[in-house]
């Protein structure tokens, strides 16, 4: 682990355009289905990927939705 870089990353969040919470929620279902299908959701929605890495609440909700769809819809 690179200490100062790790700390800077945590404090500043990722660089790049950030979709924000509302826009992210708008497409979160599509993002998650792409992710579960093995497609690069981050390449398709780069500003959403940036937001998910920067916003702890939205990132946690994405993880929860991935888990839910994986378990309930994909067996």
């Amino acid at each position: 682990m690179n200490g100062p870089q790790e700390l800077l990353r945590r404090v500043l969040g990722p660089a790049g355009d950030d979709a924000g919470c509302e826009q992210t929620l708008e497409v979160l279902d599509e993002y998650v289905e792409h992710q579960l299908a093995g497609r690069s959701a981050a390449a398709l929605y780069p500003d959403v990927a940036t937001h998910l890495a920067a916003c702890p609440d939205c990132g946690q909700d994405r993880d929860a939705l991935v888990e839910l769809v994986r378990v309930h819809e994909m067996g």
């Binding site: 100062p4 924000g20 929620l25 780069p46 990927a49």
Partner: protein
């Protein structure tokens, strides 16, 4: 939410005409959900009951998944929280039904609303009675691991000091309050939104602006972050 309250709330929602992008071919399951939930359809009441059952199951699943990280008083209350979140999510889904474009399966689309509701409720309940203010040990905890060498310890201490000074000098009081709560004290944004009578999006925007200011300030002091790696 009691069943009768749920029915009243659903009846209060405007009737919506569901239109899906003509270019999108819906899977049979999503088509069936839309047909069942049509406001004027014969199967509407059953469709709403099925939707509640689906979202209640989802809310319970998520609540149970997080049980281990919740305070005991919240863990004891998961059934009520899941029921309430499912009821709230049904209302949101019905209100937003005309915005469903068929870009994902209907169930995935509906699940995101119940996840939003149950997550926000669990965060609020977990932080009930806890203060979100700064304590003296907060800045020490910012680097939440022990640097392995004396040089790394010095570097981390210098960076932590630079961050603390920039937060004090460059941020507005509102930005400082939200930045310290979220980044230093790990307070969920939903909790701040609830306490400050705001929304997740509005609180996040303040955090985002604060981080941009700090990035400029720290870069000017020679603390340049590397380029971020993309996320899967």
């Amino acid at each position: 939410m009691l069943a009768v309250e749920l029915v009243r709330a659903i009846e209060a929602c405007d009737a919506v005409a569901v239109t899906v992008d003509a270019a999108v071919v819906l899977d049979p399951d999503s088509r069936a959900w839309l047909a069942a939930l049509r406001p004027d359809g014969p199967g509407h009441d059953q469709g709403v009951a099925d939707l509640y059952a689906l979202l209640h199951r989802a809310a319970r699943h998520e609540a149970q998944r997080r049980r281990g990280s919740l305070p005991a008083r919240v863990a004891d209350d998961l059934d009520d929280i899941a029921r309430q979140a499912a009821g709230d999510a049904v209302i949101v889904v019905l209100r937003k039904l005309d915005t469903y474009r068929g870009a994902s399966r209907f169930t995935t689309w509906a699940y995101k609303f119940v996840i939003f509701e149950v997550s926000a409720a669990l965060r609020r309940e977990s932080w009930r009675g806890r203060t979100a203010t700064m304590d003296d040990a907060g800045w020490e905890r910012l680097a939440d691991y022990a640097p392995s060498t004396p040089e790394a310890r010095v570097e981390i201490r210098e960076l932590t000091g630079a961050i603390e000074r920039s937060v004090a000098a460059d941020l507005t009081p509102r930005q400082r309050e939200i930045f310290v709560a979220v980044v230093v004290n790990n307070v969920p944004i939903d909790v701040l939104a609830d306490r400050l009578d705001s929304t997740r999006g509005a609180i996040y925007k303040v955090l985002h602006d604060a981080r941009r200011k700090l990035r400029s300030s720290l870069e000017a002091q020679g603390w340049a972050p590397w380029a971020d790696e993309g996320e899967a």
